[in-house]
């Protein structure tokens, strides 16, 4: 039998995460280009019941390890189990999510399988039956195309929200092969897993981000951004200067030492635009900058610039947006 493309699914809290559908869709495309089947491996507690769903995105067969002990991801336990399932697939290529846990698992798998890994890929191409993968380096200041030495199996993690997703075909389901799980002896464990159920939009998946910097002057003034975020259903981010000043939690930091984001709309308020910040948000589709300093570097990246004192401008802008929103409804 010809080798397959293998997709590693990410399952959490009773569902496959959206990025799994993206990776399966990308896997389908690569499998078609190579003329080979698409298989998947899925590990988690209760995952066996859901595994057939991956067929909607083009997966033909899923190898499943289902055990209550696999509820939360921990590298030491998950790596050998996933590695065994991947070997059952006998793949030509393995692709997986470049999520928080996915990148961690990918690195450990790379060592275990002695497979060359490219993390956080934004584009994969098949040329004459060979795989090439593109990834951002220096936080997106540059992109790097990679290839694999002859006879090597590519292992690639794919950046979420970039590669797109097939429309699910509800009529299809994948064949499920449930494999008996032998839990490895482990010294590490998950003590608690708290999922945020507030519905607040996270930075990584946000379509709109409102971000504040040093110009906000103090933590309390971020309420101006929270107001705007509420109107736009946006996530709130911050520059390193704002995080270093203790105004916002580190999880909100956008930039080379924070999150790299790619929303449709990024509104930078009181952010001058240090290189390390621009690297983290430069691939946003549209960028708006509000800053009173006309020479601020952020204006070189902004599609729309507003040279105004943010404390004057922001409340007025929020009011205008509210008027616009109410005229739409």
């Amino acid at each position: 039998m010809s080798k397959c493309v293998c997709v590693i699914a990410e399952y959490r809290g009773g569902n496959f995460r959206r990025v799994t559908h993206e990776v399966a869709s990308e896997g389908r495309r690569i499998a078609d280009a190579l003329g080979v089947p698409l298989q998947a491996v899925a590990v988690g507690s209760g995952v066996a019941e859901k595994a057939a769903e991956l067929g909607r995105y083009g997966v033909e067969k899923v190898f499943v390890a289902d055990d209550p002990a696999l509820e939360g991801y921990i590298a030491e336990t998950h790596t050998p189990i996933v590695a065994d399932l991947v070997q059952k697939c006998d793949p030509a290529v393995v692709i997986m999510p470049a999520s928080v846990d996915g990148k961690d698992l990918g690195a450990r798998l790379s060592a275990r399988l002695l497979a060359g890994l490219v993390q956080d890929s934004t584009e994969i191409v098949v040329e004459n039956g060979k795989i090439k993968a593109k990834k951002p380096i220096y936080a997106g200041k540059c992109y790097c195309w990679n290839e694999w030495a002859d006879g090597e199996m590519p292992l690639i993690s794919c950046r979420p929200n970039v590669m797109g997703c097939l429309a699910p075909d509800e009529s299809k389901s994948a064949q499920v092969d449930k494999v008996e799980v032998t839990l490895p002896e482990a010294r590490s464990s998950v003590k608690s897993l708290e999922l945020d159920t507030s519905g607040r939009v996270g930075l990584s998946g946000a379509e709109t981000i409102v971000s504040g910097g040093r110009g906000l002057k103090e933590a309390g003034n971020f309420s101006l951004l929270e107001d705007l975020a509420q109107v736009l259903d946006a996530a709130v981010g911050a520059s390193r200067a704002a995080v270093d000043s203790g105004w916002r939690p580190h999880a909100d930091q956008v930039g080379q030492t924070g999150k790299v984001v790619n929303p449709n709309l990024y509104i930078a308020v009181g952010i001058s635009g240090a290189i390390q910040h621009l690297a983290g948000m430069g691939s946003s589709k549209y960028i708006v900058a509000v800053n009173k300093d006309v020479d601020a570097p952020i204006f070189t990246k902004a599609d729309y610039g507003i040279v105004e004192d943010l404390f004057q401008f922001m409340p007025v802008f929020v009011e205008e947006l509210k008027k616009y929103k109410s005229s739409c409804s």
Partner: protein, 265 residues
């Protein structure tokens, strides 16, 4: 408590990236080289644990001679000694080879804890820590934003998409560090620290000293190879919304453009 911190030197995050003539590498002239920021967080966390539990902190690094400066900086922050894998071209042999060499050096030291950054700000492959742990046959806890150690176990907190996790492990364990400057607040090297660092022991090791066969460490062994680099597409110059409008007029015009032109609201 003996802690090894794996450290890499990277260009400062304010560096401008230009592609070199070969189309596969970046121009390094004018780079300000620093400790990879996430590795610096690891150094800080190690020093704090040493202050509480005693023991020593050993810096482990590799690569060309310029890296020694970053190692000395970590010693000036308060680390006790260092091991430098003196192999200029180690990184060109691929990430698996780097991790194997680092793991071999760690085995010789048999520490209680190994710390490193969760990722490096240059190639951003986020691989080194988990790979080294796999080659050591140890557990690892990744992306710590806080850490506690009672001498027998380590527990960390990490965030993930829409949630938070607490993980725990017995020693020995490898921990990678996430978070930001604001979380770890890495100390600066003091002037007396810098003076002392010059006299702290730094051992140079070749691959053969680590029991490794240098013939296995060549660029031909790299599984992944760079084909080419490209710069992101230039953004077309934007417009400053002015036209003599007052604040309200500008706000209204911005809403109009976001709706009609950008179609993002």
């Amino acid at each position: 408590m003996n802690i090894v911190v794996i450290l890499k030197q990277t260009p400062d995050t304010e560096s401008v990236i230009r592609i070199a003539g070969d189309g596969k590498s970046v121009v390094t002239d004018g780079f300000k080289w620093v400790i990879n920021p996430y590795d610096e967080f690891a150094v800080e966390a190690a020093l704090k644990i040493k202050e509480k539990h005693g023991g020593k902190v050993t810096i482990l690094s590799y690569g060309p001679q310029r890296v020694v400066e970053a190692v000395r900086t970590a010693l000036a922050m308060g680390a006790d000694d260092a091991v430098f894998i003196d192999e200029e071209h180690l990184e060109s042999c691929g990430r698996i080879k780097v991790a194997q060499a680092v793991a071999a050096a760690i085995k010789e030291m048999s520490p209680d804890l190994v710390f490193c950054g969760s990722r490096a700000v240059d190639m951003d492959m986020a691989q080194r820590g988990p790979m080294v742990a796999e080659f050591l046959g140890w557990p690892h806890l990744a992306l710590a934003t806080s850490i506690e150690c009672d001498g027998k176990t380590v527990s960390i907190q990490r965030s993930l998409e829409g949630g938070k996790v607490t993980q725990e492990s017995t020693l020995p364990v490898l921990v990678t560090f996430g978070g930001s400057h604001a979380v770890w607040n890495p100390r600066y090297a003091s002037l007396p620290g810098i003076m002392k660092a010059k006299k702290k022991p730094l051992q140079n090791k070749k691959l053969a000293d680590l029991g490794l066969d240098a013939a296995e460490f060549t660029p031909e062994k790299a599984k992944v190879r760079v084909v080419s680099l490209e710069l992101p597409p230039e953004r077309k110059p934007g417009k400053i919304i002015d036209g003599g409008l007052d604040t309200e007029g500008k706000a209204r015009e911005l809403v109009r453009l976001l709706h009609e032109e950008a179609k993002v609201i």
